[in-house]
């Protein structure tokens, strides 16, 4: 890619927007994932009795839905990113590329 094309794309406001939106969304979700995962570890490290509390009459503890919840959250948050990227970021990328190469 020549320097001229690079400069032109870099100056395109749509490119700036794509970069800013993707980067802030990506980092936001990354931080969310870190908070959930390390929150779970901290809960295990510092508050075991909380996770061992029983839900209602049976033996199932509050830790079970939380643990399963972390697994499901991991898949869902990945899905949320991919969904937005497929719709919004790809459309924006296409526009940037089209304008750059015309």
């Amino acid at each position: 890619m020549d320097a001229d094309l690079t400069e032109r794309i870099a100056r395109n406001p749509k490119y700036q927007e794509l970069k800013a939106r993707r980067s802030s969304f990506g980092w936001m979700l990354t931080i969310l994932m870190l908070v959930v995962y390390y929150g779970f570890i901290m809960l295990i490290a510092f508050n075991k009795p909380f996770l061992s509390q029983r839900l209602g009459e049976g033996v199932t503890t509050i830790g079970m839905p939380i643990g399963f919840g972390v697994i499901i959250f991991t898949v869902v948050i990945t899905g949320i990113y991919v969904r937005r990227a497929n719709r919004e970021f790809d459309a924006l990328t296409e526009e940037v590329v089209r304008e750059a190469l015309k």
Binding site: S52, V59, V82
Partner: protein, 573 residues
């Protein structure tokens, strides 16, 4: 030839090996007892081998250029690649090891599953698309994009080969133990079979054959595990509460049979429903968690898979599919572990005189297979476990071979002027070399407890490969010197801290208890900081002409990483 090699590795072994680490219990198969020869399992495995050899033959006809060899020509779809990544990632150790950990500790077993899963979103959000847009064959293509090629490639190849070596040894030893256990074959025969088959897949079929072996294995493993989990849930009328209640009852019964008072027995029984002794100190827990989470984003054989798809969109889809399948698989192993408590621990036919599982602790899922599906299904699960190892080692070997042929030979020695034919030739020679080394190491490490090796591989990937990759892609001021110095610091510190941790220093080297310089279970918390800080400080202090060039190259790299303009293989798709 093999004698001096083995002697040399005997030395390495004295440095690394150690006995017993609770931390890595979910990633290791441990020692196994040889079982009677199981012909059903061998027959089913033979069917798998014949099928995959046909695929290899078909793939060989399509493997003409270096691009075909490394990336299957970039023609794999996101869905297929997602399955292949899952096939690369779900090892036999995680299937048998995690279900066994759940059977023993209940809730605590979830810690492994979650740790191995949470790295995937990070890969998706920060790396997958950018990797695809910048790279061609190996992650070094990305890490070295705007830098001086030779030093960064040498670092990346070192990072790749060290990670691959530890991972490969763990898999080879696991294969030998598993086959002894499931098929009733001699250890060395199993290691040689694994080595020979993986060589054939990679040598002739390259990435195309490796991908399809991984896809088939992923489908078989997911199918088999789904069947087992369904049978368990069916027994309890699809009520998790009923399953948990029965498991607690069984564990309580075992505790009272061992002479515990009713109160203490009930307490022990219900302990499987909450966190137990798995996390001892928070620093170890965080450090171990970091190794698993960020290590995923630095495993060379996984990163390489992103170059097999045509574009960034497919790369992104592949991680979503991979995360979905892997997450689903870990939910299944949890149900399988609880199923093993209720079906296996209650059946004297699966227990030895001392109340342990016949064949060793890791047989939980295997005995459950017999309990829910009889002998034929036992054969099926055994064959799947073997196939699983094959798929993982094939991916590892391919990744190691690419580091040597693409990063070292073509870029460093030939300065990027190697033609595709000679590069392909070097990859194939390296594949044979790696196969032989893997078999020798597998035999040399037979009697060792290699539990720490997989977690060490993750720690190195997190402390060396991941920081270099992340900062080279996202941080403008990163320079060649910074990446190389910081990367090597992360690599050396993660290995060194592991050696002076209690599990290696005290348990293996026989030093007195409490003498280990590094008290925690995983080095990642510290070695990752060392790696990142090394890159950061050296880059900031770097004022050379090359550093100016490195920084000036950032804009073009960023534009390509964000838009995909100029990306390898982007045209024609």
């Amino acid at each position: 030839m093999s004698r001096p090699l083995r002697a040399q590795w005997g030395l390495a072994l004295a440095t690394f090996a150690f006995a017993g680490a609770a931390w890595a219990a979910g990633g290791d198969l441990g020692q196994a007892e040889k079982q009677p020869t199981n012909w059903t399992a061998i027959g089913m495995f033979a069917a798998f081998v014949i099928l995959t050899l046909f695929i290899t033959k078909w793939a060989a006809a399509r493997t003409k250029s270096a691009a075909d060899f490394y990336t299957a020509g970039g023609g794999i779809t996101g869905f297929q690649n997602g399955l292949a990544i899952a096939g690369d990632y779900m090892s036999a150790a995680s299937f048998l090891g995690i279900s066994a950990a759940v059977m023993t500790g209940g809730f605590d077993g979830l810690m492994y599953s979650i740790g191995f899963l949470v790295g995937w979103p990070v890969v998706t959000f920060l790396l997958a698309e950018r990797l695809r847009n910048l790279g061609k064959f190996t992650f070094a293509d990305v890490a070295a994009f705007r830098f001086e090629q030779a030093p960064v490639r040498v670092f990346a190849a070192s990072g790749t080969l060290v990670v691959v070596a530890f991972y490969l040894i763990a898999q080879m030893v696991g294969a030998g133990q598993l086959i002894k256990l499931l098929f009733g074959l001699e250890y060395w025969i199993a290691v040689v079979i694994v080595g020979a088959l993986m060589m054939v897949y990679v040598l002739f079929g390259g990435m195309t054959a490796t991908t399809w072996v991984q896809i088939i294995k992923a489908c078989l493993l997911l199918g088999g595990a789904t069947f087992m989990a369904l049978m368990v849930l069916l027994h309890f009328g699809f009520s998790p509460e009923a399953m948990f209640a029965k498991a607690v009852e069984v564990k309580t019964g075992i505790a009272s049979a061992l002479g515990k008072a009713p109160d203490a027995a009930a307490k022990e029984g219900s302990s499987i429903m909450g966190p137990g002794g798995f996390i001892k100190d928070p620093i170890s827990a965080i450090s171990f968690g970091m190794a698993l989470m960020f290590g995923t984003a630095g495993l060379p054989h996984i990163l390489m898979r992103f170059f097999t798809v045509p574009n960034a969109k497919e790369a992104r889809k592949s991680v979503l599919w991979a995360t979905t399948w892997i997450g689903y698989f870990y939910l299944l192993t949890f149900i399988i572990g609880f199923g093993a408590i209720t079906f296996v621990l209650t059946n004297p036919g699966f227990l030895d005189a001392k109340g342990g599982l016949i064949g060793g602790g890791n047989m939980a899922a295997v005995h459950l297979a017999t309990a829910v599906g009889g002998n034929v299904f036992l054969g099926f699960i055994s064959a799947v476990a073997f196939a699983t190892i094959l798929a993982v080692v094939a991916g590892l070997t391919l990744s190691g071979a690419s580091a040597v042929s693409h990063d070292l030979y073509a870029t460093v020695f030939k300065h990027g002027r190697a033609d595709s034919t000679s590069e392909l030739k070097v990859s194939r020679i390296t594949t044979v070399g790696l196969g032989i080394v893997a078999v020798l190491l597998g035999i040399a490490f037979e009697k060792q407890n290699i539990a720490f090796m997989v977690s060490l591989a993750f720690a190195i990937a997190a402390s060396a490969n991941f920081p270099v990759l992340l900062l080279s892609v996202l941080w403008k001021d990163c320079t060649t010197k910074g990446a190389v110095v910081g990367g090597f610091l992360g690599l050396v510190s993660s290995v060194a801290l592991t050696i002076v941790s209690p599990s290696v220093w005290e348990a293996t080297l026989g030093n007195p208890k409490g003498s280990a310089l590094f008290p925690y279970a995983s080095p990642a918390l510290f070695s990752m900081v060392i790696g990142f800080a090394g890159i950061w400080i050296v880059s900031l202090l770097d004022r050379g002409a090359r550093a100016a060039q490195d920084r000036a190259g950032f804009l073009a790299q960023q534009v390509r990483s964000e838009t995909g303009i100029g990306a390898s293989g982007a045209s024609g798709h």
